[in-house]
């Protein structure tokens, strides 16, 4: 039992089962596999090429982020959250900072809120770009990857100029921002938006009407709205199933209520709809950033925050709409400088649960497409 190799129902070393076995075949995918987006291990039960069921084995990237949080001060824990969903680090920071701010009953000043929205939406763009590139690569189209990475670079340059880091940005501080925006920030963001708008069309040109792409994604990995809700699936996957629910609208945080944008939804809840929803979300993000840059107010960037953060005793749950879904932080304070308990509700972790439902009855090659379309980041799943 303690032997980790005996975890799987199949002993892979004994070649007693063959491909012609009348019953079912169990094969192992990962943890080292190019299409599992990290160290995800999937044990597939197959009937020929048809998937009868699957089991995910996760935890290969477990670093005990929640435990670390209990042993760091509130400010010290802030950079750690960037390492969970490392492709959307800004969103993670936003959720954490807002949760602690709520616990402290303070609110970031308007200018900080605006900059937060700009950076978070830019980060949503990078996350979706990375998703699009790798998802298309999984399905066999190699070119979109390079297009998305070319444009992602421009956003990362803005991040780098703003806070010195490209990926794990640590852009926000509890109570606002650490840095004032650099001179020319607005201009550069606007330039980027003007540059990026036609690029979304370019991505769509490559894929949206490509026949092979349609064949590979239409009707694949279908999940109904009811299943989504029952399984707690959120984010673009939920919206592609036709549920018009976005935390930015439903329970607005930061100052999203000031911006005008739409929630794109799909109809069928298949891989193609999820693709369409995410592409539309990129366009909406561009809209939000444009409004935020135009209306960027002057003023302080930091609220009055005590030097040592000691929230009063109590607990708070705060969630935001990360690129992958609902990212929640449940923080229990005991009145000291360190959180008594930090719980992260990771969207990827909960969304990954739906993989089994989505893959049943599909073929093996579709499992790869579905893993890609779920847009999981193993750093966040395993924490």
């Amino acid at each position: 039992m303690p032997d980790p190799t005996s975890l799987s129902p199949l002993d892979l070393d004994t070649p007693d089962k063959t491909f012609l076995d009348a019953n079912e075949l169990i094969i192992n995918m990962g943890p080292q596999h190019p299409a599992t987006h990290g160290v995800l291990r999937v044990i597939l039960r197959l009937d020929g090429e048809k998937v009868l069921g699957l089991e995910c084995v996760i935890g290969y990237l477990h670093r005990g982020v929640e435990k670390i949080g209990e042993n760091r001060t509130y400010a010290m824990f802030n950079p750690y959250v960037d390492r969970m969903d490392y492709v959307a680090a800004v969103s993670n920071g936003l959720g954490y900072c807002e949760a602690v701010e709520k616990l402290l009953a303070i609110e970031a000043p308007p200018r900080a809120q605006h900059v937060r929205v700009i950076l978070t939406e830019l980060n949503r763009l990078t996350s979706h770009q990375l998703w699009l590139g790798t998802h298309a690569l999984d399905i066999g189209a190699i070119t979109p990857l390079f297009y998305t990475f070319r444009d992602r670079e421009e956003i990362l340059k803005i991040f780098e100029k703003y806070c010195g880091a490209r990926l794990t940005t640590h852009a926000f501080r509890i109570g606002g921002l650490q840095y004032e925006t650099y001179s020319g920030f607005e201009r550069e963001v606007k330039n980027f938006l003007a540059f990026f708008r036609p690029k979304i069309d370019e991505y769509e040109e490559l894929l949206t009407t490509n026949r092979i792409w349609l064949e590979r994604t239409r009707g694949i990995g279908k999940i109904s709205a009811e299943d989504c809700i029952a399984l707690g699936v959120t984010g673009p996957v939920l919206r592609a199933s036709g549920v018009k629910w976005d935390l930015r609208k439903a329970q607005p945080y930061a100052n999203y209520k000031n911006f005008d944008f739409e929630i794109p939804i799909g109809e069928n809840g298949d891989t193609y709809d999820r693709y369409i929803v995410r592409m539309a979300e990129m366009r909406q993000s561009v809209r939000i950033i444009e409004q935020a840059v135009d209306a960027l107010p002057e003023g302080p960037i930091m609220a009055k925050v005590p030097k040592v953060i000691k929230p009063p005793v109590g607990e708070v749950y705060h969630s935001i709409e990360a690129p992958k879904g609902e990212l929640g932080y449940f923080i229990v304070s005991d009145g000291s400088t360190q959180p008594y308990r930090v719980r992260v509700r990771p969207p990827s972790f909960v969304n990954l649960q739906a993989l089994d439902t989505m893959c049943r009855g599909q073929l093996v090659a579709d499992v790869i497409a579905v893993i890609g379309t779920l847009d999981i980041v193993l750093g966040e799943v395993d924490r």
Partner: protein, 169 residues
């Protein structure tokens, strides 16, 4: 193309074929047997070329080496041969088989030594360039009926194979 150095190539190909044939029936591993058989078949295609039968040689390569043998290899890989390799390779009546084969061989030798004289010494040569056309004329003329029956046979074989191999019909 007139075949050149006929005896040399004949003995080379004959040796290849016979070694291949021996390997087919002695190899433990069915995959090795299949590969030996492929070598035999390819050598035989070359012998057909020497016998001025280029069309049959082409058919031999496409159908036998490229088609039937791939099917064989496919099936060998699908079924588990590990167990078969560990088992005894020859059945308990192997000596009966050898004796029967030897008897048959004796019969052949007897027939050939006796009937050697009836084979004509001079072999009439036929225009190789028109081989394909003439085969086609015969196949679709005189042997039309047989051709149709053969196609029917193939159809039956296809359906039969599908029915046999399918898990659920």
């Amino acid at each position: 193309m007139t075949p050149v150095a006929t005896p040399f190539f004949f003995y080379l190909l004959a040796a290849t074929m016979l070694i291949g044939g021996i390997l087919v029936i002695t190899c433990k591993n069915a995959v090795h047997s299949a590969l030996a058989l492929i070598v035999t078949l390819l050598a035989q295609a070359n012998i057909y070329l020497m016998l001025y039968a280029p069309f049959v040689a082409g058919v031999q390569i496409i159908l036998y080496a490229g088609g039937i043998m791939v099917l064989f290899l496919f099936v060998i890989m699908l079924v588990n041969i590990d167990r078969a390799m560990k088992e005894r390779q020859f059945n308990s009546q192997w000596w009966v088989g050898i004796i029967a084969a030897t008897a048959l061989g004796g019969l052949f030798i007897a027939v050939y030594t006796k009937g050697k004289s009836i084979f004509p010494e001079r072999i009439p040569s036929i225009a190789e360039g028109e081989n394909t056309q003439r085969v086609a004329t015969l196949l679709y003329g005189q042997y039309m009926f047989a051709f149709e029956i053969a196609s029917l046979l193939l159809l039956v074989a296809i359906i039969g194979a599908v029915v046999m191999a399918k898990k659920r019909i």
